[in-house]
């Protein structure tokens, strides 16, 4: 009962999805203000999701029906698992199980994989272009992202569970305060921008070149599920960054302020950069970003 509650209501699906949709609204509103527009009302993203649930679901005739319909749900369920693990770890750090950092890292790839599988099974040329770009992008950002997590693990003396990492930061100060931690934080921030599929790394859904890219064939309920998955990602990734790098204490206001600061950084990066080509993004992640990540690992190893 307790497990179900934390999976479905708090801190799992219901709470996190609402928080993510609300964060999505902040994104839209701020983007609109930056462009001198007024922007949508606060309930806009909720209404969008509800509307999509009511709409007809079209399945492409030439595609593979099961893979097309099931893959968004797989990504969605794995994201709920991520937010539940994260939320429990923050609620009561002592209860988290050993190795949940690794589990979270794995589960965070599944939404992207689900998008790739769904897009390839829809048999649409635009979707396959989007899927291939998404695939390359995963190869690009996953290496620096894992390295940035390795920095955290090294700095917390090999602790692989979120609770222990949080506890250590509460006892000895946040990781972001050190040299290597700050570098790894910047690296991770760039990686989550790509994980969230936001500009400048949104080439898999580039609306102006390949229509909606990987999502081009989705409609109705599966599209709503994909949008919810994105909302969950928008909630989970900044929270993950906070719990890995930036915990002084666990009182709610400071966590919320930190969340908004990271969200603000993401939105500003999104609004001040043009979209990169996929080859530029690969060069960016495998060049400077990976270099920074390796540098921060080295710094962490020598104890800076």
């Amino acid at each position: 009962m307790d497990v179900l509650f934390s999976y479905l209501v708090f801190p799992g699906f219901l709470f996190s999805a609402s928080a993510g949709l609300f964060a999505g609204w902040i994104d839209r509103k701020l983007t609109a203000r930056i462009q001198y527009r007024v922007g949508p009302p606060w309930y806009q993203n909720f209404v969008d999701i509800l509307k999509l649930c009511y709409k007809e679901t079209v399945v492409p005739y030439a595609g593979s029906r099961a893979a097309f319909l099931l893959s968004p749900i797989a990504g969605f369920l794995s994201m709920i698992l991520v937010v539940s693990i994260l939320g429990r770890a923050i609620q009561s750090p002592l209860e988290s199980f050993a190795g949940d950092l690794i589990v979270v890292t794995y589960l965070l790839i599944i939404p992207a994989l689900a998008v790739i599988i769904g897009a390839s099974s829809s048999n649409n040329p635009f979707a396959s272009i989007g899927a291939s770009r998404e695939m390359k992008l995963i190869l690009g950002y996953e290496l620096p992202f894992v390295l940035a997590m390795a920095v955290v693990v090294i700095k917390s003396h090999g602790a692989l569970n979120l609770g222990a990492i949080i506890n250590r930061q509460i006892a000895f100060g946040p990781h972001i305060a050190s040299f290597s931690g700050a570098l790894a934080f910047v690296v991770a921030l760039l990686c989550i921008q790509a994980k969230l599929c936001l500009v400048p790394f949104d080439m898999s859904e580039a609306e102006q070149e390949i229509m909606a890219g990987a999502l081009v064939e989705y409609s109705g309920f599966p599209l709503a599920v994909i949008k919810l998955t994105k909302a969950l990602l928008l909630y989970a990734l900044p929270v993950l960054l906070i719990s890995l790098f930036w915990v002084n204490n666990l009182n709610l206001p400071s966590l919320i302020v930190k969340y908004f600061l990271i969200l603000l950084a993401i939105i500003l990066i999104k609004n001040t950069n043009p979209r990169l080509r996929i080859d530029q993004a690969m060069k960016f992640f495998w060049g400077p970003v990976s270099f920074l990540a390796v540098l921060s690992v080295v710094l962490a190893l020598i104890g800076l």
């Binding site: 009302p41 209404v47 509800l50 509307k51 679901t57 909606a212 999502l215 081009v216």
Partner: protein, 141 residues
């Protein structure tokens, strides 16, 4: 009024189908999304794919090629999908009525819900048309 319709009218995603217009109407449609008019206030956004669309915004006179495309687009859209004809061309073919490459008007290919005349219509007129569409969806006069 059912909650379903209420929700639908608060989040209309538009797909822009240009069936050989002169491009003026398209520019006016894009104007509607710019800071001055900003219809994202009402939840209206441009959708990249017709599968996501609630409203098909059609401009121009269909010719022999785009006629077929338009038919396909309408068939591909997820229901419920409404059609708005923007500009004199899409409403009634104006001076292209007797042209050799204009087989039919938009409403002879797909059912049109709202007509927005003008050559091109002003953004205000387009917004007024969308308001009419919303009233129509809600079943008001």
């Amino acid at each position: 009024m059912s909650i379903k319709i209420n929700i639908l009218t608060k989040s209309l995603w538009a797909y822009h189908a240009a069936t050989s217009p002169c491009n003026n109407c398209d520019i006016e449609i894009l104007d509607v999304f710019t800071p001055r008019h900003d219809v994202e206030r009402f939840g209206i956004v441009l959708a990249g794919s017709v599968r996501h669309a609630d409203v098909l915004v059609v401009t121009g006179v269909p010719n022999f090629k785009t006629k077929e495309r338009l038919k396909k687009l309408y068939a591909q859209a997820a229901r419920p999908c409404f059609v708005v004809a923007v500009g004199g061309c899409a409403c009634g073919r104006i001076m292209f009525r007797d042209s050799y490459n204009s087989p039919c008007a938009v409403d002879e290919v797909i059912p049109v819900d709202v007509y927005i005349p003008g050559c091109p219509p002003k953004p205000e007129a387009i917004i007024a048309g969308i308001v009419k569409l919303i009233d129509k969806i809600k079943g008001k006069k």
